[in-house]
């Protein structure tokens, strides 16, 4: 945010803050254009630090897509850390884009990637630093159009009042259509904020919150979402990219000077998930499953390697081992990566796919940490959540890993799942104990070290567009009780136990399930300085509770109450492909303890296939 010569003496400010390298831009492979030669200046904001934002794959893809258009210049914007923010306020330095150093007021569209609910305060704080009014209705003609996108917008209602336009679903095509509409209206002189937003509401995948009126019943539930005009759609259908093999993928990546979270080549292997775990939002909202071919992926990888010089390639998708051509892909990559001193890494291995072969072939599996996610402690509860793995799978996987020389493993679980009892909690400790035993089944000479098993337990947050979207969240007290109970069940010193702060999960649940009545509380928090709530050191539960209380928000309404099956949900105007009927069916099966096979076995009729696309499994 520093290259603008008008920003006086920013260099002395940079000398006075921590990690100034995150503010300087100037990276290799960034896109520079002449601002007088483009029609549309697009600021892509990531409401977190540079180090985190630079690693986001979505931003990398969309930056590339937008900049391929000669009429558009897309630049990046990140949130300044607290010390820099203070200096910006002290010296009247407005928030600016990394590439040009121009303040956000110089842009036509300013988009935010909303990846997690707790980033809302940071996003709004960035609007303030840019000098824009927080609420859409208060913005004049000279303020850029403020756009929201990313997974959070599947229920964007808590921040609906702050955004002019929401991009529902994948942005590759929609964002271009939005920019083209903007350019067209500017060119022919028909542009006003109101006219543009109204016209944009006709683009599939665009939701304009201000064009809807919400009314409520006496009991506080939603009565109706009503479009203000007949031409505004009552239901907004998610957009997808039809054919990932044909969709653009970056052939170069911006090379950060400072170390970022995922400082490596990232290959997106497929979108969607065949599994259908009943608590998982990503597994539902990214359907249908669309795979890229190994040929395309190998081409992408080679090209990115030459243009970046990275020595690591990471394959990502929701569950990498479910990729139907994983062997072809890894063989294709390994044919040159070893000689080029490039290593492969595979995150998110499923328990039932862990194999000796992968351990031999893939260095991250060989040398990296070993993590598995059984999610629940008993088979009964794993069936309820449709996590189709069993104890034998886990023992087989850790057995292979232990015999391959590993001696520590991390297991992920969740507390507060629907139907959970204390027995399920005890099951977690049990399972960890059995993993320890599995290690000691090896002959003594094969275990040079002691074994260490870490269990990491998150709290269940019922998310929109999952079969559990109606469920209640355990109260704070219940969650604490369960955490304590588990602590009491663990006696073995070889088992380490860590758990998430239930307070964070509680606020997450309010934000994930909330409606427009939360906006006053969020605005209040932002005006009182809240930022970086996704960071433990900045998250302040008491401040959140106080803001909810002062603005009349009953948090129990969104959390411990649970939602009625016939209630209108805050996200009901969004069509993410997966139907409500399917979610209800899955919910019923959950309570019956019945599992649903993966899409690879047969299609379960979730409805996402109606979105089209070159699907792998859907019929």
């Amino acid at each position: 945010m520093s290259h603008n010569p008008e920003t006086k003496n920013i260099s002395s400010v940079l000398k006075a803050v921590n990690k100034p390298g995150r503010y300087i831009g100037g990276e290799y492979n960034r896109v520079m254009k002449n601002k007088d030669e483009v029609k549309c200046r697009f600021a892509f904001c990531f409401p977190d630090t540079y180090e985190i934002g630079m690693s986001n794959l979505g931003v990398r893809i969309l930056y590339d897509v937008l900049n391929r258009d000669k009429d558009i210049w897309c630049e990046r914007v990140y949130a300044p850390w607290e010390d820099m923010k203070a200096k910006m306020e002290e010296y009247d330095i407005p928030l600016s884009a990394v590439e040009s150093g121009d303040p956000l007021s110089a842009f036509d569209l300013v988009a935010f990637s909303l990846q997690y609910e707790l980033c809302y305060t940071t996003a709004l704080q960035m609007l303030k630093l840019a000098g824009f009014p927080l609420r859409s209705k208060d913005r004049g003609e000279d303020v850029p159009i403020i756009v929201g996108g990313g997974p959070c917008v599947f229920n964007s209602e808590p921040v609906a009042d702050f955004f002019d336009l929401m991009n529902i679903g994948e942005g590759e095509e929609v964002l271009l259509e939005i920019c083209h509409l903007y350019n067209e209206m500017k060119d022919n002189g028909t542009y006003t904020r109101a006219a543009f937003l109204r016209a944009a509401s006709h683009i599939e995948g665009v939701y304009i919150p201000s064009l809807y009126d919400v009314s409520y019943n006496e009991d506080g539930t939603i009565k109706e979402y009503r479009p203000l005009y007949d031409d505004v759609p009552t239901k907004i259908k998610k957009r997808i990219v039809e054919d990932l093999d044909k969709a653009p993928y970056p052939d170069k990546l911006i090379m950060p000077y400072v170390e970022t979270v995922h400082d490596r080549i990232v290959l997106e292997v497929y979108r969607g998930c065949i599994r259908g775990c009943r608590f998982c939002q990503a597994g539902m909202v990214y359907r249908p499953i669309r795979e890229k071919s190994p040929e395309t992926l190998c081409k992408n990888a080679k090209c990115l390697y030459e243009n970046t010089g990275y020595d690591e390639i990471s394959l990502i998708s929701l569950s990498i081992s479910d990729y139907s051509e994983l062997r072809e892909l890894t063989d294709g990559l390994l044919s040159w990566t070893d000689n080029a001193h490039v290593s492969l890494s595979l995150p998110s291995l499923r328990i039932d796919s862990f194999s000796e072969e992968l351990m031999k072939k893939v260095s991250s599996v060989r040398t990296g940490g070993l993590t598995f996610a059984p999610e629940a402690g008993t088979q009964r509860l794993r069936d309820v959540i449709n996590k189709n793995v069993c104890e034998e799978d886990l023992m087989r996987a850790v057995g292979i890993a232990f015999r391959g020389g590993k001696s520590s493993v991390k297991l992920y679980f969740m507390n507060g799942l629907p139907t959970e009892t204390l027995e399920d909690i005890e099951g977690i400790a049990d399972l960890a104990g059995k993993v320890v035993k599995e290690y000691y089944k090896m002959p003594k000479q094969d275990r040079p070290r002691g074994v260490s098993v870490t269990i990491s337990v998150a709290c269940f947050v019922p998310k929109p567009f999952t079969p559990f979207q109606w469920e209640k969240q355990d109260s704070f007290e219940e969650l604490i009780k369960k955490q304590e109970h588990l602590k009491g069940c663990i006696t073995d010193k070889k088992i380490r136990y860590t758990y998430h702060d239930a307070k964070v999960s509680f606020v997450e649940a309010v934000l994930a399930r909330g409606d427009r009545r939360l906006s006053d509380a969020i605005e209040l928090l932002v005006n009182e300085g809240a930022m970086f709530d996704a960071w433990d050191e900045y998250f302040d539960y008491d401040k959140w509770m106080s803001a909810f209380e002062r603005t009349g928000v009953d948090t129990a309404f969104y959390t411990t109450r649970g939602f009625g099956l016939d209630e209108i949900l805050p996200w009901d105007m969004i069509d993410c492909g997966v139907t409500k009927e399917f979610l209800l069916r899955e919910r019923k099966k959950a309570y019956e303890g019945k599992t649903t096979p993966s899409c690879a076995e047969h299609c379960n009729g979730c409805g996402a296939n109606k979105l089209g696309g070159k699907n792998r499994w859907c019929n």
């Binding site: 003496n9 002395s12 006075a16 390298g21 990275y310 020595d311 001193h341």
Partner: protein
């Protein structure tokens, strides 16, 4: 060019490069990571270390600290193949941004440790810049004892040291409203003097750079030249 043998499996290419502008805010560690990507992109015939985790070898002379620009950084790179220095330089520069560029590249067998002195330009912008202030800055740095408190861990007492023996030459003059200082400081690995200490000494001796308003008083440092022990040019 030397013949490559099992005993001598590589040749050393020395790069002299600049790191200026906003890149003064990049730490040495970040420079090393950045450089390793650059040399890969430039497709140089790199020599890799032996062992389980082979890496190309880069050796840097006198790391810069954050906040100092430089037009004379040195780095040695090990190559396994003959490539003309001009070619190497061109390929590297094509893979760097304007603020970091190779100025010179050549094969050498001299050690980087022969670099003993570095010269710096320090420009101090201050509202009360004057000829007198420039003179008093020069005097303050030419006295027998120039004492500064060293950096220390929060729980330690910061030791006071005399940096005068590490200053070879110093001069200060007024240039417009800027106090311009030229300094030649020790770059010996065992007695390296960070130019920030010179600024620190001036801060306590002459009371400059004490304005809390960062837009009123500020300074910049540029590393400009490198010398051997006998003050001949290091290259």
């Amino acid at each position: 060019m030397v013949q490559l043998t099992p005993q001598h499996p590589y040749v050393t290419l020395r790069l002299k490069f600049k790191k200026v502008g906003s890149l003064q805010y990049i730490s040495h560690l970040d420079l090393v990571r950045t450089m390793s990507k650059i040399i890969t992109r430039a497709k140089l015939p790199l020599w890799y270390t032996e062992g389980f985790n082979p890496k190309p070898k880069m050796i840097f002379a006198a790391p810069l600290s954050i906040g100092t620009e430089s037009v004379c950084e040195f780095m040695d790179l090990r190559l396994v193949d003959d490539i003309s220095p001009e070619e190497a330089k061109a390929r590297l520069n094509a893979n760097m941004t304007d603020e970091m560029q190779v100025i010179d590249a050549y094969y050498t067998e001299d050690k980087l440790t022969e670099l003993k002195w570095l010269s710096y330009s320090i420009d101090i912008t201050t509202d009360n810049a004057s000829v007198e202030l420039a003179q008093s800055c020069e005097r303050a740095l030419l006295t027998d004892e120039v004492l500064v408190k060293k950096k220390a861990k929060p729980w330690e007492e910061a030791p006071t040291v005399n940096i005068r023996p590490l200053i070879k030459e110093i001069s200060a003059e007024l240039r417009g409203d800027v106090i311009h200082i030229d300094a030649v400081l020790s770059a010996d690995a065992s007695a390296f003097l960070n130019p920030e200490y010179v600024v620190k000494a001036l801060r306590s001796a002459c009371g400059i750079l004490s304005n809390p308003d960062l837009t009123k008083e500020y300074y910049s440092i540029m590393r400009t030249a490198a010398y051997k022990a006998d003050m001949s040019e290091f290259r």
